[in-house]
Symmetry: C2
Subunit: 454 residues, 2 copies
């Protein structure tokens, strides 16, 4: 049995009831995170262009935008989930597994009227498939210039959808094949709307692959291992089937799920500055620091911090995402690092600009990438210090449920309003006991207020 | 100015009125050919799966199937155009430029109510862009395992659509970028419905790229030459910007158009057997040969013929496409090599099977790939010989208009009936004087009779 068929066997034969509770819980947490970041992004002006293209007719729910066809819903939801670069990250591979997988699973669950539990199981399985394929081509594939979320994401979407559509092993193999042969996305598109569109394409293409095969379409049967398949063509400098071969153990024992290596981002910027933001917020909250009292923020950081994020005085929101000084200043002033802290007006805010000038980083190559030492000096002479060993959202320090809910509320309450935001949150936490995803999606698809007015 | 921007400049600045008449005529011939092969394919059972996926709601015409959304129309039309592998071929690169490009151009022409002439100009430009990009990565890209029609086709679709949507150079550059970053299709999918879906994906993705950018979406600006762009990622073992740099001359002089190197296929099978089929049909028709009188068909062929198409007694229609013996036998019995000659029942036909056993090929490496010597021996002792120097449809021996019309009628009359088939043919030949593509598309989208009954 080849690796592609083995993946298909895993998709079809995994006993959903045997999936450990902590895996289902992590699936719910990624859903809550995806709902948060997607709804926060749902009033972006670019979404109108997508709607002008794909229409709004259909019965599949679109985050914050009503409904559309299955193809369009998966495309837009995948796009929204990745637009702020604030979705979950599989640490070993930098794959963002949820942005392509959840939209396909949710659309398939709506089509089949699947139970909430079955949707969570399908996501866990799709996510596992995507992460395993990602591991099989890491690091060669990303290094070659592929945006792994766009390329590998389609495997996760197809796997999750195939599970819900009830495909057998042979058809699931072909669905993975059709998804894999339409894998796309190069890193030249980073910094444009194209990057998030990769995730939308992966979601829609993976869902389409499963739906077409369910309706009798044929697809290739050896997409990974074929002589002109995914490995040979999209990762010619190296690949490693071992993570997929190890799926046999997973089916037998349920021992290791890659969702455990998948982190939720506390801040809407590059991960290397996250420990610094953690530390500043911790000190700010513990000591009730008033920004005007600060005379210096001294940080001992991993060398990647100034290398990747060293823009001292950014002029736009996008530039601010590449400024650890801005990240630290916004963390001090706002106590957060959401997309709102990276709007152009925050980048130009005089108070934040003044604090940015007080940030002094020295590098220490002995630190971990998710580690930092920070001292904040105040006018009254106090020096307040802390050490973050593992930043929030890293595998060693997963985001707490309380923090996740705080992130969710910060992003969703302005969009849905308090009561609907809370109802959606309850529906997500209770999804494993819900008869369907209908209640969840009815809240999640409520038009954004900006959009309602329009 | 980088290569991507140069392509965009060509798309925007080419004077449509200055395009030579023979180029416009060749554009019409590819259209007639695409209409023929798409309508012939339009009752394939797999199309139902595509419609179950993408629906039939919308105002964009679908070959033989009514109408659908722009996204769906481009997807299905691109799929149909390539499904029988009977569309035109750019000889230098084995790109099939029309299957991705015409559907995008036709949908954009319907959206903008463009004149027939403007649609033909947009196709010629889109086709040129696709062929130039193909030349820039040939042969490395195809050899690496990419299905060049799927990957490069999106550039042609985006270019043609961008021209009709009136994008400026900067936006056209980004439309090419969005199309290029979604390039997809590996050769592992050959032999499945996935291969034709590559062409549908390219058509829809290219059209989407132009439509999204027209509506304000951003895309990468250096998709070809970027450090993580199309050339570096999808053709890392070699690329050659010269064919694109030479576009400057093209704008100035209109001297060389790749449509001149684009051939129409007379037979729905691999090109290496085409000279053999040409020869058999020529002798059959000239001498009114009755199959029962034949005792031997002796052919001196290029060595690739038995290497690629050496299956002596195929059992299915698909296998018959890889049998030069079947191709010759069907040519003798039916005088043709359309998809009908490769149905399963023809592969199993006793008369054709008996003729196949009479085909004897010897190889001669001094022959051209499009050359053959054939002798047919009859029971009465006669030996009838001919020499085909260049097979029909090769650049040196383009398919005649009469032959094209014969192919068209053989494929379209059974689908549309005689009167509508003739009306559509007239609309295509007269497209450069038509106020819009509306009349053409109203005939081209008439539901296939199989479908009307269903």
């Amino acid at each position: 049995m080849g690796p592609t068929a083995r993946l298909a066997e895993f998709v079809v034969q995994t006993d959903g009831d045997a999936i450990p509770a902590h895996v289902i819980r992590e699936a719910k947490r990624t859903l809550i995170n995806i709902l948060a970041v997607s709804l926060a992004a749902s009033d972006d002006s670019s979404v109108g262009a997508l709607e002008a293209w794909g229409g709004r007719e259909g019965r599949s729910s679109v985050f914050g935008r009503g409904s559309a066809s299955e193809a369009q819903a998966a495309l837009v939801n995948g796009y929204l989930a990745h637009l702020q670069d604030y979705d979950d990250t599989h640490f070993p591979t930098v794959l963002h597994p949820s942005a392509p997988t959840w939209p396909a699973v949710l659309a398939a669950a709506e089509r089949t009227n699947a139970s909430g539990r079955d949707a969570l199981v399908a996501f866990a399985i799709g996510c596992e498939v995507a992460c395993r394929v990602a591991l099989s081509v890491h690091p060669w594939h990303y290094d070659a210039g592929w945006h792994i979320t766009g390329t590998v994401g389609g495997f996760g979407a197809a796997a999750g959808a195939a599970r819900l559509l009830g495909l057998d092993v042979a058809r699931t193999t072909q669905a993975l094949g059709l998804a894999g042969t339409h894998a796309a996305g190069v890193r030249d598109a980073f910094g444009t709307n194209g990057k998030a569109l990769h995730a939308g394409h992966a979601a829609a293409s993976g869902l389409r692959a499963a739906a077409l095969v369910a309706a009798g379409f044929s697809g290739p049967e050896t997409i990974l291992e074929g002589r002109r398949g995914f490995w040979a063509v999209l990762s010619p400098n190296g690949n490693n089937p071992a993570p997929i071969e190890a799926l046999g153990d997973l089916i037998a024992s349920g021992a290791r799920w890659e969702l455990q290596n998948n982190g939720l981002k506390p801040y809407a910027n590059g991960v290397v500055s996250h420990p610094l933001q953690d530390a500043v917020i911790e000190l700010r909250n513990r000591h009730a620091i008033v920004p005007g009292e600060v005379v210096a923020i001294e940080a001992r950081v991993h060398p990647l911090v100034p290398e990747l994020m060293g823009r001292a005085q950014p002029e736009t929101g996008l530039q601010a995402k590449f400024s650890h000084q801005h990240c630290a200043a916004a963390a001090l002033v706002d106590g957060a690092g959401h997309e709102a802290q990276f709007h152009d007006d925050r980048a130009r805010d005089p108070q934040i600009a003044a604090i940015r000038a007080l940030v002094h980083a020295t590098t220490d190559a002995t630190l971990g990438e998710d580690e930092v030492h920070v001292t904040i000096r105040l006018k009254d002479g106090r020096a307040l210090s802390t050490h973050v060993e593992h930043a929030t959202g890293s595998p060693e320090n997963p985001m707490s449920d309380a923090y996740l809910e705080e992130k969710y509320r910060a992003l969703v309450t302005p969009v849905l309003g308090g009561p609907a935001a809370e109802a959606l949150l309850r529906a997500a936490w209770g999804l494993d006991n819900a008869p369907s995803v209908r209640e969840l999606m009815s809240y999640a698809s409520r038009p954004h207020p900006e959009h309602r007015r329009g």
